[in-house]
């Protein structure tokens, strides 16, 4: 093929692929709104704050961003809202080892950012992030463990290296807090025993579940 022929192949071939790309873009734009919840005024304000504080400078969202701090696509599913609110305002007050600085986010701004993150968590992402397939950590089978898992305690608390880091590690919690009554009060209403706690209370937990959970916690010495 002559140079002119190859050149024309380059120009018209590229235009051809670009036209297809634009067609797919138009189609995608039509479908996007149906794959996500409605955007309220609060969600939009939250998104603007997301940009203002340059959150993407450390975090990823939908897997894109800076890889320095956790991905926030499903953060509102995994962490209690009250915790997130306090964390955003002053991270190290609720988690002393946090790397995040105090950015000067007000409690009202925190609520808006959380509204935005809640919206993101409901976007249809074709199944991303995937559920961990090897998460078959062998916890002792007991009614207390079932309660522990049912109420999502692992999202924030770690036992034997497995679980979140937002709350204290519970591997040896019974050595630190051997008092049964303390645990019962703490789970029902954390602020009644730890005034600054960012943990949500669990008044909805049944009496039986509460007792089973505390039985389990007291084995962790």
């Amino acid at each position: 093929m002559s140079n002119r022929g190859v050149r024309n192949l380059f120009i018209f071939g590229s235009l051809f692929f670009f036209v297809i790309f634009i067609g797919l873009t138009v189609d995608t734009m039509k479908k996007l709104d149906k794959r996500a919840p409605e955007i309220t005024e609060e969600v939009d304000q939250g998104k603007k704050l997301w940009h203002k504080y340059d959150c993407i400078g450390c975090h990823t969202i939908l897997g894109n961003g800076s890889y320095f701090a956790p991905d926030l696509t499903k953060i509102t599913v995994n962490k209690p809202e009250g915790y997130l609110e306090k964390f955003l305002v002053n991270p190290r007050k609720v988690k002393p080892s946090a790397a995040m600085p105090v950015l000067g986010i007000s409690p009202e701004e925190a609520k808006k950012i959380i509204a935005f993150l809640k919206w993101i968590s409901k976007v249809d992402t074709n199944g991303w992030p995937p559920k961990p397939v090897l998460a078959t950590y062998r916890m002792p089978r007991s009614p207390g463990v079932t309660v522990f898992q049912k109420y999502g305690c692992t999202a924030c608390h770690m036992i034997n290296g497995v679980g979140g880091t937002s709350g204290p590690d519970l591997t040896h919690v019974a050595s630190r807090k051997p008092d049964r009554q303390w645990h019962i009060k703490h789970i029902r209403d954390p602020q009644s025993v730890v005034p600054d706690s960012a943990m949500p209370g669990f008044p909805q937990m049944s009496e039986q579940e509460l007792n089973q959970l505390v039985d389990y916690l007291l084995t962790l010495k």
Partner: protein, 466 residues
């Protein structure tokens, strides 16, 4: 240097080289913040903004400088307007400086980043295109002046070559693809959709077209290969770049809330993206073997290294996690960081440096110059970069396994299991800085020292064919 106005290229190169140094210094600060988050008064987000913005700007400056050299050379005439080129240079320097000062100000006072007329004053909070809207507009004006100047030079000379046509085409595509990043969307999904138009269609579209044109120009300058052969291969390369790269954008549309058909489109086309990069490697080696009259061995060495590492970094390190089945697990992990580092280094850092080593001796009118420092800096930078990339790849593999497969917490994996990788990465970063410092010294000294003679001479004429 045949045309006086080509001197403007050196201004762009100097600014590029200094920003390269800034990029690597802040990169080391960022690497240390992975180990000690409070290591520096400015927090990680600002340091990273500086790291990636310095990268984009210095590469653009280098490509602009290279273009200001190539276009008069190809058009065989002086630039259309040298004063305009000087104005464009200084206006860009002032804009970039203001943006950097804005980031630093925001680092000390996050509330200074206010909404003014509906846009953020100091930082848009969008990765790579953090520059605020007022700066976007100034950048667009600067690029338009740059394109006008080069287009008018070609237009007035009436001498159209394939190389400069492709170069100008790539640059125009680059300018157009900046625009989808310049409007606000309420939906984060649409935000990221258009954002990828800018980011992907730059680095895996327009910039690779520019790289193809510059590779052809470099091979033309330093070997005795005939133009029509080089240009034919250039067309094949850039055609394949866009045939695969445009729809390859789909590999960013797997998990951001876009329809499922992108898994197919992105998976198929982005798997083919390494093909043109492989053709470039083959082209560079073939030309070097067949045409043995080499007027600038160091320049050719860098050009071939660019082709090789473009393929390894952008091609191989990209394709390993580009199919949806793999990407589902690796998306958003340090695997991407590893790919990003080697791709930018191979595809664009080595490209700009090879353009500097091929054109700067001509600008300073010293074709036979001392080259030992150039080779040393290459090896120090490249070996350090390989260690950076391997440590990040290791970190990414551990992260994928521990966090994505086993379900451990992000922070646990980062702080415990990956700590050793952060340490290796930071040490390698210091190694890379040493390589960059050698290069910077060489840049300023090039042509001002006596050259090596004999076998080490930069000019080699081998009569026998390989």
């Amino acid at each position: 240097m045949k045309y006086k106005s080509q001197k403007i290229a050196e201004y762009f190169y100097t600014f590029a080289v200094l920003l390269f140094l800034v990029q690597v210094v802040v990169g080391i600060i960022a690497a240390l913040q992975f180990i000690w988050p409070d290591f520096f008064p400015l927090k990680f987000n600002i340091i990273r903004d500086l790291h990636i913005n310095a990268l984009v700007v210095w590469l653009l400056m280098g490509l602009m400088g290279a273009t200001y050299f190539v276009v008069p050379e190809e058009a065989q005439s002086e630039l259309w307007s040298l004063p305009l080129a000087y104005f464009q240079f200084w206006a860009t320097v002032v804009t970039v400086t203001l943006v950097v000062l804005g980031y630093i100000w925001m680092g000390f006072n996050p509330h200074a980043n206010k909404f003014v007329f509906g846009t953020l004053l100091l930082n848009e909070g969008r990765e790579y295109i953090e520059a605020p809207r007022w700066a976007d507009i100034l950048i667009v004006v600067s690029v338009l002046l740059f394109l006008l100047n080069n287009f008018m030079t070609m237009y007035k000379s009436k001498r159209w070559t394939g190389i400069q046509g492709t170069l100008l085409g790539g640059l125009t595509f680059l300018a157009l693809m900046y625009l989808p990043g310049m409007f606000y969307t309420k939906s984060m999904v649409k935000d990221q959709f258009w954002w990828w138009w800018v980011v992907h269609l730059w680095v895996e579209g327009a910039w690779e077209v520019i790289a193809g044109a510059l590779l052809a120009f470099m091979l033309l300058k330093v070997t005795n290969a005939p133009r029509h052969v080089l240009e034919r291969w250039m067309y094949i390369e850039v055609a394949l770049v866009l045939f695969t790269g445009i729809l390859g954008t789909g590999h960013h549309y797997y998990w951001i809330g876009t329809p499922k058909y992108w898994l197919w489109i992105g998976g198929i086309f982005s798997s083919l993206e390494p093909v043109p990069l492989l053709v470039m490697v083959w082209d560079a080696f073939r030309t070097t073997r067949v045409h043995r009259v080499v007027t600038n061995r160091l320049g050719l060495f860098y050009a071939v290294a660019h082709a090789v590492f473009n393929f390894v970094g952008a091609g191989l390190w990209g394709v390993i996690h580009t199919v949806p089945m793999a990407n589902k697990w690796t998306h958003g992990t340090q695997i991407t960081t590893a790919h990003g580092h080697l791709a930018f280094y191979g595809a664009y850092v080595l490209l700009v440096i090879s353009m500097i080593y091929i054109t700067l001796p001509l600008i300073r009118e010293r074709t036979d110059f001392r080259t030992s420092r150039g080779y040393t800096s290459f090896w120090v930078m490249t070996i350090s970069m390989i260690f950076i990339v391997l440590s990040l790849t290791g970190a990414g593999m551990v992260q994928t396994y521990m966090e994505r497969l086993v379900g451990l917490d992000y922070v646990t994996v980062k702080a415990n299991y990956n700590l050793v990788f952060w340490i290796v990465r930071a040490i390698s970063g210091v190694g890379f800085l040493v390589g960059v410092l050698i290069f910077v010294v060489d840049y300023f000294k090039l042509g001002h020292e006596p050259a090596e003679v004999g076998a080490k001479s930069n000019v080699s004429v081998t009569t026998h064919a390989a």
